[in-house]
Subunit: 99 residues, 2 copies
Amino acid sequence: MNSLEILKTEHELLAKYAKAISHPIRVYILYFLAKQACCFSGDLDKILPIARSTLSQHLKELKKAGLIKGNIEYPKIRYCLNTDNWEEAKKLFENFFGK
Amino acid sequence: MNSLEILKTEHELLAKYAKAISHPIRVYILYFLAKQACCFSGDLDKILPIARSTLSQHLKELKKAGLIKGNIEYPKIRYCLNTDNWEEAKKLFENFFGK
DNA sequence: AATATGTTTCGTAATTTTGCGAAATACGAA
DNA sequence: TTCGTATTTCGCAAAATTACGAAACATATT
């Protein structure tokens, strides 16, 4: 893989993370998790003015992007930041904007 | 405006900037401008594997989000970062990820 | 086995995004 | 005034996103 391809991959990765952050609801969820460590979907459902199914979809998006993960604790699911990828995203954005 | 509303606005602003960055082509354009100061649409057209009209649309998106601006220098248009908003976005992301 | 709980998946609809080629635009140069 | 250049806007189509309510799921409890 040459440097141009690495560059391309990095751009695509940054775009992927940016896309995950590109909706106010998802920004809020990430903000909430970054502050409070972890929470259950129901905690967010109480706060956010959207249907549960819609919330679930946003959580799915964030999971797909790798920014959060969910651990089952029946009958609930505990959502947390995926700290490794969170740090990766942080570094990509830092680099992008110029440290 | 209370603190919750300010928070909401900040989340929406961050989401808006993230959306602008959420496409690889736009990431590349911003990266290019951040490195090289300014350039013409034609410079990008030579590099990027998309139609001119599509490139134009992406530039429009970035302008709409406030991250770039274009100065007419007939028959070309010189595109530059909108540094004020670029700095604002940088700070929002820094805050978001935790400084 | 039946029920209750927290959450996701399904089906659907409306809107937005992405992309292209063709045509339009704006202006300087011939 | 006509021509050339750089870029945008238009018209369209395909795909993705966002949203909802209803139904399905997985499991602990009764």
